[in-house]
């Protein structure tokens, strides 16, 4: 953070307005208006095949909030997914960033290889994993059987399917952490590390007492960005399991999608979407407070 940044142009409302007008207009038309319409639909009997649009009050919200599938499967799944996938990608990403933060022969090649998942579309990643974890012909089971272990029907059991989904997500998003944390590591001041070296501090203590605290603001920002994105994950679950077996791996986005477009009940789907939106908003604002506190201290 640069010191002493003050408004350099003084009052120039028109200039400011022009700068944000296109963005604000697009935001209004494609996010605010749809959300308002969705909120309206969530109070009405709005089936896709027969939109009566009769006011039903909070009936849809009540239906969503008392749906055992939502309370006992979808919400726990979503939060579990959020925590494990973010934490997993953070740990792996940080380790790789530390690895890449020192010179060695072939460093650039390794870096390029480690960034590969960043280029892979989640849909493609899901297709790959589905093929690799195929119970009859997948390479994972072939290797397991080659080792004398028993192959698993990975995608038709709840927890193994959930594990594959998590693995795919962590694989996909690790480079994102690596990239941002590596940039963060490279912009840290050198002096404290040199001082620690002269004092003969052990590598582990340097990591826990210097690197980690100094990197904390970047870590927190990364975690917040990723956590909010993880909450709305749709494509990998849709392509890998479609929420199955049964509905046991459904995440929140899939739940709302299924209500709106497969059950063709736009009212209930919108209500679910709004409930989820409110939940993540509360989580998001809480996390923003955290970022604020960390970056200011």
């Amino acid at each position: 953070m640069a010191v002493g940044r003050r408004p350099i142009f003084g009052e120039q409302q028109r200039f400011m307005l022009f700068l944000i007008a296109p963005a604000a207009l697009l935001l209004l038309l494609f996010q605010v208006v749809p959300i308002a319409i969705g909120a309206n639909a969530s109070f009405r009997d709005w089936a896709l095949y027969n939109p009566k649009k009769i006011w039903v009050g909070l009936a849809h919200y009540e239906a969503v909030l008392t749906d055992p599938a939502f309370l006992e499967v979808v919400l726990p799944n979503t939060f579990l997914f959020m925590v494990v996938s973010v934490f997993g990608a953070l740990v792996v990403g940080l380790s790789l960033a530390l690895l890449l933060n020192r010179p060695f022969w072939g460093q650039r090649l390794v870096q390029t290889i480690l960034l590969v998942p960043l280029m892979v579309a989640p849909v493609i990643a899901a297709i790959m994993m589905r093929w690799m974890f195929n119970d009859q012909f997948g390479i994972v089971n072939a290797v397991l059987e080659g080792l004398g272990l028993e192959g698993q029907p990975w995608l038709v059991q709840r927890w193994t399917a959930f594990g594959v989904i998590l693995l795919t997500d962590i694989w996909l998003w690790t480079p994102w952490f690596t990239l941002l944390l590596l940039a963060g590591l490279q912009s840290l001041p050198k002096e404290p590390f040199e001082a620690a070296e002269i004092d003969g501090t052990s590598t582990w203590r340097v990591f826990t007492h210097l690197t980690l605290p100094m990197l904390q603001p970047v870590i927190v920002v990364c975690v917040v960005i990723r956590a909010i994105d993880a909450f709305r994950t749709f494509d990998i679950v849709w392509t890998l399991t479609g929420g199955g077996p049964g509905r046991s791996t459904e995440l929140f986005s899939l739940y709302a999608y299924v209500l709106a477009f497969l059950n063709l009940d736009l009212g209930r789907g919108s209500a679910a979407a709004i409930v989820g939106g409110l939940i993540i908003l509360v989580v998001g604002i809480g996390m923003y407070r955290l970022v604020d506190r960390v970056t200011k201290s």
Binding site: A2, I20, Q31, P122, F137
Partner: protein
């Protein structure tokens, strides 16, 4: 930095042993990371008869690629995805660079309100506004058209990219713009001729990310398009169910979809790494 470091692990080993171990670990990590993509490429090169035992047999063929490329809908999807990604990148950058500049250079209620708005809308899950957007785009006649897909793709990046752009401009010293203003430059001049050129690396980084995000996006394409504007991700996801047993074709399609993203990321890597210091 001094080159001699105290090793964290395996301190008892001689240096050469530690070096070998390090190289081995690096190789293992790279292999695990690249394996899914390598496996996909290998699958796409196997003939139909060999696809179920990819790891056995030595026949390789490009027949799957030829067959896939004869599929008209798929070629159309490639063109559409490339077109939408490129247009969305250009317009997203136009819109978010100026909005990020405003956030960085002005303080006060207007700026903090805009920042709050952006943060809140960044949190809103896509599904919460894409479900009703389906209706909005139908009633505006935008459903299943290029424009109906392009505009939401621009809108979705506003929040995140404005925020990143703000960070980039925060890192650029405003005193040059000060000087330009004192020398009689207009505000637009100071923005476009002074601040913008120094933000080029960051803009390049965002451009690469934006193109990749749009090329890889699935949910919008799934909900906002029907048959007229197929996008590559949706067509692929449909293939999984339609051609469930023809994995060689599936893999060939996926490999083809990877190529443009791969090339872009390879050439853009250096900008992304340099531009993403938050």
């Amino acid at each position: 930095m001094a080159m001699v470091r105290q090793p964290l692990l395996f301190g008892w080993m001689p240096l050469i042993g530690r070096r070998a171990l390090f190289a081995l670990a690096l190789f293992a990590i790279c292999f695990l990371f690249a394996f899914p993509v390598l496996w996909l490429i290998l699958t796409s090169l196997r003939p139909e008869s060999g696809v179920y035992y990819v790891h056995r047999g030595t026949e390789f063929t490009l027949a799957s690629f030829v067959e896939v490329l004869q599929e008209e809908r798929l070629v159309q999807a490639f063109v559409n995805s490339a077109l939408i990604s490129t247009l969305a990148t250009v317009f997203s950058l136009l819109v978010t660079v100026s909005s990020g500049y405003m956030l960085s250079r002005f303080k006060g209620p207007a700026s903090s309100t805009w920042f709050g708005t952006i943060y809140v809308f960044r949190c809103v899950p896509y599904i919460s506004w894409v479900i009703p957007l389906y209706f909005v785009s139908q009633s505006w006649g935008l459903y299943d058209t290029y424009l109906g897909l392009l505009l939401p793709h621009i809108a979705v990046h506003i929040c995140f990219f404005s925020w990143l752009m703000k960070g980039f401009f925060d890192g650029i010293d405003p005193s040059m713009e000060h000087a330009a203003l004192i020398d009689g430059c207009t505000r637009w001049g100071a923005f476009l001729r002074v601040a913008l050129p120094s933000a080029i690396p960051a803009i390049a980084a965002l451009g690469v990310l934006c193109w990749l995000f749009t090329w890889n996006e699935f949910l919008f394409a799934l909900i906002l398009t029907g048959n007229k504007v197929p996008m590559i991700t949706v067509v692929m996801a449909q293939f999984v169910t339609e051609m469930g047993l023809r994995w060689n074709l599936m893999a060939a399609t996926a490999v083809l979809a990877l190529v443009p993203a791969f090339l872009l990321a390879l050439f853009g890597q250096k900008y992304v790494i340099r531009g993403l210091r938050i």
